[in-house]
């Protein structure tokens, strides 16, 4: 008889790993993103903050001047003009873009099998080169009789307009181009929001006798509030960063009337080689953007939270 020694399996003692070890894999996985963000996002931001306290012409060594750049900004009429232009542009750009895009999305959602075609057509300006857009609209806006828009106006007995050469019309003219080129992007956002609305709710409302307007006002729009917040905040941030169209169409003129804050920053950074001053203006832009986003979050965000409470 075989002598069998019963063996008792010794219980595996599993030590509870220390919390940081438990998450080490996850830290490793997010590391590439964090490293890239640090190099291309965080460090430039820190550098901008530091440079804003210096006088630096890009090539030489920066010299520390404390708050002088900020003091100079406070007394710089051009800076305040650019801030005003940017804020006015943001309002003129965001509201029509969001509104027109929502209208387009609603119409497209009714288009059935033609939806993809319309979506593509409206999206084309979004993927078109901004330089090409500026060249085409620059031609449309020609101020004399040869300008196509003025030619059309002439057909209705309206005299030729100065458009980009006018102190009062230049900004609205650029807004028209900006809205035209951006509306397709916001339309796609609205469309995805609309597709998230349960059809049963709309059907139930219809059974209850709600007409199209009531269904839109009472069901669709309230359920689109998260999308609304996203569209408005993204639109505002894009408006605050407006540069290319202004640079290409008006160069900030006439008489600073279309000088946005980013154009102001660009001019001081690269034309005048005042990196410190440009960085200080960038810091001001960050502050304005954060304040605006907070206000929007409080108004639209609160509105949206209510929905789910």
């Amino acid at each position: 008889m075989q002598n069998v020694t019963p063996t008792v399996a010794s219980p595996t003692i599993r030590r509870k790993p220390k919390s940081w070890r438990r998450y080490l894999v996850w830290y490793a996985l997010i590391a590439p993103n964090v490293i890239l963000f640090t190099i291309f996002g965080l460090l430039p931001i820190i550098a901008t903050v530091l440079i804003s306290f210096t006088r630096w012409n890009i090539l030489g060594s920066p010299s520390w001047i404390g708050l002088q750049n900020f003091q100079r900004l406070l007394h710089d009429d051009e800076f305040w003009t650019s801030l005003r232009v940017t804020l006015v542009y943001a309002v003129l750009f965001v509201l029509p873009s969001a509104g027109i895009a929502l209208g387009q999305a609603l119409l497209i959602s009714l288009a059935g099998r033609w939806q993809a075609l319309f979506r593509t057509v409206y999206f084309i300006p979004v993927v078109t080169s901004i330089t090409v857009i500026a060249m085409i609209w620059g031609w449309l806006f020609l101020p004399d009789d040869t300008g196509p828009l003025n030619y059309l106006l002439g057909k209705f007995g309206i005299p030729p307009q100065s458009w980009l050469q006018s102190l009062t019309q230049a900004l609205p003219a650029v807004v028209i181009v900006a809205v035209w080129s951006a509306v397709g992007y916001y339309m796609v956002l609205w469309l995805s929001g609309l597709q998230g609305i349960p059809q049963e709710l709309l059907d139930a409302a219809m059974v209850d006798g709600a007409n199209a307007w009531t269904r839109f006002w009472r069901i669709t729009l309230p359920l689109l509030k998260p999308t609304t917040m996203f569209v408005v905040i993204i639109g505002t941030i894009n408006a605050f960063q407006a540069f290319a169209l202004f640079y290409l169409l008006t160069g900030g003129g006439p008489l600073y009337n279309t000088t946005t804050i980013v154009l102001f920053i660009y001019k001081h950074a690269f034309r005048l080689q005042e990196m410190g001053y440009a960085s200080a203006a960038s810091m001001m832009l960050v502050v304005v953007t954060i304040i605006t986003a907070m206000i929007q979050r409080r108004t639209i965000g609160g509105w949206s939270d209510e929905l789910y409470s």
Partner: protein
Amino acid sequence: MQTTQHISRRQVLKLLGITGASVAIAACAPPAAPAPATGGATSSASTGGPSGKVVMWAFPLTKNDPETIWNPLVEKFTKEYPNVQVEVQMQSWDARREKMLAAAAAKATPDLAYLNNDMVFSFAQADAIVSLDDYLQKIAPELAGQYPKGMIDGLKYSGKLMMLPILSGAVCGLYNKTLYQESGLDPTKNPQTNDDILNMCVEAKKKGYYGTAYRVNNLESFNAYLYGFGGRLLSADHQTSLLDSPESVETFKYIVDLFKQEYVPKAGATAAADAAAAAATDYFAQQKQVSTEYTSNMSLIGQYQKQVSGIQLGVTEVLKAKDGTRRSTPTLGCLGIFSAGQNRDAAAYWLTWLLQPENLAFYNTQGGFVPPTASAREKWEVDPVTKEWGGQVEHIAVDQDIQYYYNSNITFIQPVLSAAALGQMAPEDAAKQAATKMNDYIKENPLK
């Protein structure tokens, strides 16, 4: 028996850590030390000549510069210097200045590059480029002497030569001889003064043509008229803006009048970017405008000859001031060697070789600009109109206007001139405001 090797989580983490650390170390490691600048000595191969790779940044002058200009030149050079590999990297003209500044600030420059003369001061002051004196002394002692003295003097910093021109050009314009004649003017007598330009505009308007063009963001054009009135941008000690001088005020009034009388297309009153503006308002190509604006862009000759069949072009020369003198803002495309370059010695060989008369002539023949040395101009093969424009390089002047704060001027002129051209501001006030802003800028950014 099958053996399965399990890799523990710890091992995976170790591996990741080692890989990450290696990448980080590799990324943070300093670049290979640049070849020492030994006062022009070469990075010697066994043959004793220059060796290694030379990287150069160039900007396009034709539709296909690598094929038409650089490949033939590099091939020829390599036959002479087989141990040097030259790589010419084409850069876009867009945001050229910004790109160069950023590269120099980050010390991410090539060995040498095409640089414009207005960059001499800021690049040299920041030690971004090195002096060419020692290199020239060792490699090509005769080279600098081939250039006009005024041109060379303008490229010096603290007495040291920092760049050498590879192309040059004066600020001129073109006129359509047919429309000029139709306007009742003698096509063999081109406009010589500001008054002649104005007279051309008056006569052209009678026939329904624009006389010329003006864009408020074109400093070359502003300078053409300012010099025509005998004015300057800066005082001789480069401490004071002269934008409010009587000559400058006269220039502002003159330009505003061009817009007011509709002698030039109105679109130029707004400072749209060049490409957008040009596409929208090229009335010269449409044969509705007698002359082009003043510019250094000589490629317009070929462009219009191709675009408008049978067009007869003449050159509106550098304008003559009342005292009979002529001066033009210089266009000097130069070559400079960067202090952060990896192979500066071999780069110096490439630079001096490129500037030999035969190569200079080839480069400018293909590129449509003017060789800056007389010996190269003898070998320069171009059409008569280009030759006529090229002859104006004798009027280019490199002085305080160009060396200090040059590009800043237009930043302050543009908005107020635009407003004046649109009737929103008196020209006198515009000139005064531009000068005030420029003087504030000089105070904020004193030169060392």
